[in-house]
Amino acid sequence: MERVPILKIGDILLVSIQLDMSDQTAVQLQDDLAERIVATGCHGVIIDITALDIVDSFVGRMLSTIASISKVLDAETVVVGMRPAVAITLVELGLSLNGIRTALNVERGMELIAAARADELDYQLDDDPDAETATP
């Protein structure tokens, strides 16, 4: 059975979907990804769909599921590289991929994850009572 490779770049896992997704491949990818997130402790997942000509409700639901799984494991998911034709089709179909963050390309996706991560760290620091007493 075909598998989608998952690459680790720094604090981010990169999934580049290059083949037509079937039910089995999708389930396999979800399993693999969940395991890799736990194993590596990464805080970001980038799913690259540049090579996908067709994004239907099935692929859309798979992306949402992956995003939800990653969220539970404290990793931010960004879908990158959606083609204009795919975006137009999705809009015409009325699918809006709720709850999924998107970026134009992998580079922007990495920036987005880094920014989200920085916000989160700031937030945690602000909450820290010691930090507050240290800076009156």
Binding site: I88, L90, L104, R108
Partner: protein, 286 residues
């Protein structure tokens, strides 16, 4: 409404026998209707071509405009109407060039006389009508293809996507936005976003004369599609009347940023991207 071989023979005899007189008289009548918008020599050349085509077809036997033998005649008629359509003549001015032949034929038939003069004239007249209709048809076809070409050019010309800043592109929409144009604008904008990797797009609707629910729908679709791809859209150039229309129609732009002018939109985007703008101190001349 074809002529039979006998009638064709008589028509050829009439036209061929008085070639010089026919073309002269024909040219004169047409020139009168065109009021000098085409030179006499040019007209005469066209009339001679037609004359030659009719006589040539008649010599091969019965004149039937749909038959293969009338290819030359059809070509001559199409040539004439194409030329006229491109030069901006009206349909009447074009077909009168053919119908003028009736007047010429009437004179010739009257002079020739004979037992079947009336019968012949009616038959010739029907043929000329057919030629006229054919000319009219090809005139309309030429006009239609001209209009189609222009519409296509307009579609391509009127939707530029310009780069305003690093990572910021803008689409100044000009003219009414129908479904076809909206589609072109959407595709071009999204493609530019991918090509330039710009995360911000400004859609400027200053040049859109009216915004109805359909136009708003097209703009909203573009914004949602851009969002799906990971880019943010700002709508700018909303004129006071348009703002009132949008509210009156109950169109919801949701969380899409709308700005009054392109400058405001650019400032908004620059603030989002963290670019600082500052006025430089005027230089003091010592």
């Amino acid at each position: 409404m074809a002529l039979n071989a006998e009638e064709s023979g008589r028509l050829v005899a009439l036209l061929g026998g008085h070639a010089e007189r026919v073309t002269q008289r024909w040219t004169d009548i047409v020139a009168g209707s065109l009021r000098g918008r085409l030179s006499h020599a040019e007209l005469r050349r066209q009339v001679e071509d037609l004359h030659r085509a009719i006589v040539g077809t008649g010599e091969q036997g019965a004149i039937d405009l749909s038959a293969e033998s009338a290819g030359e005649l059809r070509a001559a008629l199409s040539e004439l109407s194409r030329g006229r359509a491109r030069q901006g003549f009206s349909a009447t001015e074009t077909t009168i060039s053919i119908f003028a032949l009736k007047d010429v034929l009437a004179e010739l038939v009257q002079e020739a006389g004979g037992a079947n003069a009336l019968h012949d004239y009616v038959a010739f007249s029907k043929l000329v009508d057919e030629l006229g209709l054919f000319t009219f048809e090809s005139f309309v076809r030429t006009r239609e293809s001209l209009i189609a070409d222009q519409a296509e050019q307009l579609l391509e010309l009127s939707t530029p996507v310009v780069k305003l800043w690093e990572g910021v592109v803008a689409v100044p929409l000009v003219g009414t936005l129908d479904s076809a144009r909206a589609q072109v604008v959407m595709e071009r904008l999204l493609q530019t976003l991918v090509d330039t990797g710009s995360p911000y797009a400004i859609i400027d609707i200053t040049g859109v004369p009216a915004v109805d629910t359909q136009v708003a729908q097209h703009i909203l679709k573009t914004v949602v599609a851009a969002r799906l791809m990971g880019a943010d859209c700002i709508i700018s150039g909303i004129r006071p009347q348009i703002a009132q229309t949008i509210v009156a129609l109950g169109i919801e732009f949701g969380d899409i940023a709308t700005k009054a002018s392109l400058a405001d939109a650019l400032r908004h985007v620059l603030r989002l991207t963290g670019v600082e703008t500052a006025r430089r101190q005027p230089r003091r001349d010592a």
